[in-house]
Symmetry: D2
Subunit: 132 residues, 4 copies
């Protein structure tokens, strides 16, 4: 069967896709950004195995994106940073979303499985174990 | 051209459709409902001519809708009451959403145009004026 | 009570807000745009009093919006033109969404009430009747 | 670093969360279900590493969910079956969503990594290797 670490990474991906696509398009301004950050985090933390969600909407980017008189814009991935921690059957997965080359890239930062941390460390890439 | 009152009612409808379909599906539990209410109201209040939005998520209905172990459900119209006030060119429109016969009905409660209130008053229904 | 024409305009606004916020954020490319147009129109046509919806996603704008290697972007109001026709108690409302000054403006094009068309005609603007 | 298989599972989860929360709440009826299925599949197939998406909206469940005169309901996980295939750096991940105990459960069906299939096979559950 799929390993617990693989299942944990799958669960982590679900939370990110959910957060992004549930809230994409939400009207936002610097004055409403704090309430939206809080709601996004608390709603996704309801999902199974989701231990913590941190959403930071960047007010400077929101202000830059407001290009009409109406004083607001619509939430996209480019306006926020997101971090999450998922726990599944003893595996901890940490994830982050940040802009890279014009694309809001969702990244696996770390997969901690039974104490063995698999972090973003290129040195581990050539060990032959298909699970390393 | 379309009257200011007609335009105001159009604007009011846009806010309701936006609120409903932006947030439908958001994971919600009694513990996360307050933050979601606040974010829904503040985000839609960003929209043009939207003076106030009041969202009450009914914790009892949320609790009833939770039918699995995961402890949350997804927001639908049946779980909340919403009121809004829109102001457009001197016209005030008040609206409300509440459940009626299994359907989350969005209603025009009152259209106040230049001081003339057109409320939900059956007595006015037979006056022949197509605009009354 | 609110006039049938006002109610019809309210209904028309609900459809627009629904369409926009339900589909904002949907991944889209020129190759997937046709299926999305069809689904957007057919889904909103389910809503009460909604007689027809026409969605045109502009492939050129989608292509311009694709600014990374992944070959797709996310649907926003700036990428499409939308027209709708709503019928309520003998009143026909025609609406359109198009970009104006960087904002996807939703417009009442025409309100036809009992044969009296109230189109976007500046000549009617000074007639004193608060409902004209 | 996180293994390719773990990254592939993460990618697979993102697609599922995206599909579910982008389209939850979409008005649907048996007559509009086919266009929605097609649009959901084609839009998510735009996402990186997503090779195929299959959405089946169950007309019988949609019809059952329609509990008012308006002839439509709003899409939820309970109304559809979804299967996906993700390919990432030589790893194939197959996933499925189906209802289990009132919850739309998203499952990893199979993770094929360098020819070694890790399927839902209970016989492998006691092998002691935390990654098996």
């Amino acid at each position: 069967m799929a390993s617990d670490a693989q299942q944990a990474c799958f669960e982590a991906g679900i939370k990110f896709g959910s957060l992004y696509h549930q809230f994409a398009g939400t009207p936002v301004s610097p004055s409403s950004a704090r309430s939206l950050e809080a709601a996004m985090a608390e709603s996704i933390e309801n999902q199974p195995h989701c231990e913590s969600v941190d959403v930071t909407i960047r007010d400077d980017r929101v202000a830059d994106a407001i290009d009409h008189e109406n004083g607001y814009t619509e939430l996209t991935g480019s306006l926020m940073d997101v971090e999450m921690r998922i726990e599944y059957e003893g595996v901890t997965v940490r994830t982050r979303m940040e802009m890279e080359n014009g694309y809001p890239l969702m990244k696996l930062v770390e997969v901690i499985d039974d104490g063995e941390s698999r972090s973003a460390d290129p040195a581990q890439s050539g060990d032959g174990d298909p699970n390393a």
